[in-house]
């Protein structure tokens, strides 16, 4: 048993629906915007669309699956750091 077992019964739909609705429309608008601009070939847009498919899963681990979908899944260290930043999606996943 952990301390969260004492949590009161909460209506999570009431608490979070409007926020989730807002973010979903933002994602849709982002995809519309990049399509209108002819930028759907950018690997980040492609990987984002692939990750969206994780939302259709049946198990309550969709956030984890989205994060895994956007991750570098190789295991060995790379030879040299190409820079310092991260892009948010992995280009080397072989997506097409």
């Amino acid at each position: 048993m952990n301390n969260t077992d004492k949590q009161k019964k909460i209506d999570f739909v009431e608490l979070g629906f409007m926020d989730a609705r807002c973010k979903l429309i933002d994602v849709a608008a982002f995809l519309d915007r990049t399509q209108r601009a002819g930028q759907t070939d950018d690997y980040r847009v492609r990987e984002l669309k692939k990750a969206i498919a994780c939302l259709d899963g049946e198990n309550p681990d969709r956030a984890k699956q989205v994060l895994l979908s956007l991750s570098d899944t190789t295991e060995k260290p790379i030879a040299i750091a190409p820079g310092k930043g991260a892009a948010g999606a992995w280009e080397g996943s072989g997506s097409s």
């Binding site: 949590q7 790379i78 820079g83």
Partner: protein
């Protein structure tokens, strides 16, 4: 409400932020060494930075009655230059001896390169030789999964390091179980755009429980919020969590981990 801010880069913040932390109930702030947003040109730059963390920043916090602790290391973003890294490792011990220094951190990986891994291992060796606590930075975004696995393996390869004396920071839903299942502590970082929102951090507490876990703002020179921890407490209260649960995660847990260093006193 009382809380400990276990990860904040106060050298990048204004004095106003110290006032806000204290007014929000913060009883101690801990500052790991990190990347300044630009590469330092020599170990002399690190000497000045470590002096700031061990002398000047504690004095600035003390003006507001806030205990300030720090961690010392070379951040993985500057590990690609092996010669520079070796020069910095050489000056570290004197600063690790400082009365407000709790251990080696935030070490880790950034792009998961060979040089980064080599310097990470050197830091782990220093911590092992000195029996220091370790605070680990895990990589950003697409690099986090791979980096977390490499880091956990590297630490476990040093048999004299006990996992309960190491905190693996910046975990998310896909990485939280990797270190936790091996006995490490984990930290969730609350950022407006990357890492965790307060809502997702609350989800992870409800799914994974409240043992060996803390939350931090990791506020720095980028987009970040020094009051992220008390704001996450507000989210937990909205969800009906008890005051006892919130106190455990925000105050008792960081105090329990950090008190493994005899220098940490509240």
């Amino acid at each position: 409400m009382r809380y400990v801010e276990p990860h904040a880069h106060m050298v990048s913040r204004t004095t106003d932020d110290y006032i806000k932390l204290v007014q929000a109930g913060c009883e101690a702030v801990c500052e790991p060494a990190f990347w300044a947003g630009f590469d330092r040109s020599s170990a002399k730059g690190f000497f000045d930075y470590f002096s700031q963390l061990t002398k000047y920043e504690p004095a600035r916090a003390a003006k507001f009655g806030l205990p300030h602790f720090c961690w010392i290391c070379l951040n993985p973003k500057e590990s690609e230059d092996i010669k520079l890294a070796e020069d910095v490792l050489e000056i570290m011990p004197d600063f690790l001896d400082s009365p407000n220094c709790l251990g080696v951190g935030e070490i880790g990986l950034n792009k998961n390169s060979k040089n980064e891994l080599e310097i990470l291992e050197r830091h782990i060796d220093i911590a092992a030789q000195r029996d220091e606590l370790i605070l680990v930075h895990t990589p950003h975004l697409e690099d986090k999964l791979k980096g977390t696995k490499l880091i956990v393996d590297a630490i476990l390869n040093q048999p004299s390091i006990r996992p309960e004396r190491v905190i693996i920071d910046h975990v998310e839903e896909h990485t939280i179980s990797i270190p936790r299942d091996k006995g490490f502590w984990v930290g969730m970082t609350l950022y407006p755009e990357s890492k965790c929102t307060p809502q997702r951090a609350a989800d992870m507490l409800e799914v994974h429980g409240t043992e060996r876990i803390w939350m931090n703002s990791a506020c720095d020179w980028g987009i970040s919020n020094p009051l992220a921890v008390p704001e996450a407490a507000f989210e937990l209260r909205r969800r009906g969590q008890t005051r006892e649960m919130i106190d455990k995660v925000l105050y008792q847990n960081p105090r329990a981990f950090l008190s493994q260093s005899p220098k940490f006193k509240l």
